[in-house]
């Protein structure tokens, strides 16, 4: 899949300093499930799924998700965040195939 790792970070359109905002993150990722053969035996291989999501705001880690294969394909994550200063929300996804994907959103006050 060429789109793998494409991430979108959505924040509300109008934000005031001090607000607690809801952030929604979507990432394109297959999140491979465990496969079994006809004997119901697990096929041993390195399944490619996201096992860590790190969110940083103003360079500080605010939310971390540790995930397993029970998370859906092309997963979405949501979280809340109190915004104090304009800056960047950066979401980093790490998968078991040593992939590293990033999505960003800028916080600006109008």
């Amino acid at each position: 899949m060429p789109d793998i790792g494409k991430a979108r970070v959505r924040v509300p359109s109008s934000i005031k300093p001090g607000d607690v905002i809801h952030v929604r993150v979507l990432v394109i990722h297959p999140m491979e499930r465990i496969e079994r053969d006809k004997q119901d035996k697990i096929i041993e291989k390195n399944y490619n799924y996201i096992n860590k999501v790190v969110v940083t705001y103003l360079g500080k880690t605010v939310v971390t998700f540790d995930t397993t294969q029970s998370v859906s394909e092309n997963p979405t994550f949501t979280f809340t965040l109190r915004v104090t200063d304009p800056g960047q929300i950066k979401v980093t996804f790490l998968d078991t195939a040593r992939g590293r994907y990033e999505g960003t959103a800028d916080i600006t006050f109008s």
């Binding site: 607690v20 809801h22 499930r33 465990i34 496969e35 079994r36 004997q39 119901d40 035996k41 697990i42 096992n51 860590k52 500080k60 880690t61 605010v62 939310v63 971390t64 998700f65 540790d66 995930t67 397993t68 294969q69 029970s70 998370v71 859906s72 394909e73 997963p75 979405t76 994550f77 949501t78 979280f79 809340t80 965040l81 109190r82 078991t96």
Partner: protein
């Protein structure tokens, strides 16, 4: 009927094999915490084993009224089920939500996700789109900064399972 026995034996061996492998790799990679942690979180096990492994038999309080678990009563498609957990917490440096665990009892990998929070975020609400293999309880377990565990669970009916493996 004849096939029943060898399969159950195979399953049992396989379970032991997986456990042994997990134990061995866990030991080998102990020096690299992130990898070891990732392996610890998602194992094929029963929900009782998972809770025992993660929380070590610590008692859990009923979190009703504090923890709000938002999940559909009926999930038509088990492959994508939105789960959201909202915790009423002051989120100050001395009293905040440290971890939020999302667990599906009937999944082969019951532990779905663990969110780690810091007090600065102001409000503890996290959501993840999860897979559900079959109808069963979905739990949210909240670990507060003083170590208290709060649990809420709700049954979800799944029309089409989403965990083929």
């Amino acid at each position: 009927m004849r096939r029943a026995k060898p399969i159950s034996r195979r399953r049992m061996l396989e379970t032991f094999g997986v456990l042994a492998a997990a134990g061995a790799t866990g030991m080998l990679t102990a020096s690299i915490p992130r990898r070891a942690e990732a392996q610890q979180l998602g194992l094929q096990e029963s929900v009782q084993d998972a809770l025992k492994r993660v929380f070590g038999g610590r008692s859990m309080k009923d979190g009703a009224g504090i923890v709000k678990l938002d999940v559909p009563f009926i999930a038509e498609n088990g492959a994508v089920v939105p789960v959201s957990v909202e915790v009423a917490s002051p989120m100050t440096a001395s009293n905040y939500v440290r971890h939020v665990y999302i667990v599906a009892d009937k999944n082969r990998i019951p532990l779905i996700a663990r969110a780690t929070l810091v007090p600065e975020i102001g409000q503890a609400t996290v959501g993840v789109a999860v897979r559900l293999g079959e109808s069963g309880d979905v739990r949210a377990i909240v670990e507060q900064s003083d170590g208290t565990l709060l649990q809420v669970k709700r049954e979800v009916k799944v029309t089409v399972g989403g965990c083929g493996g």
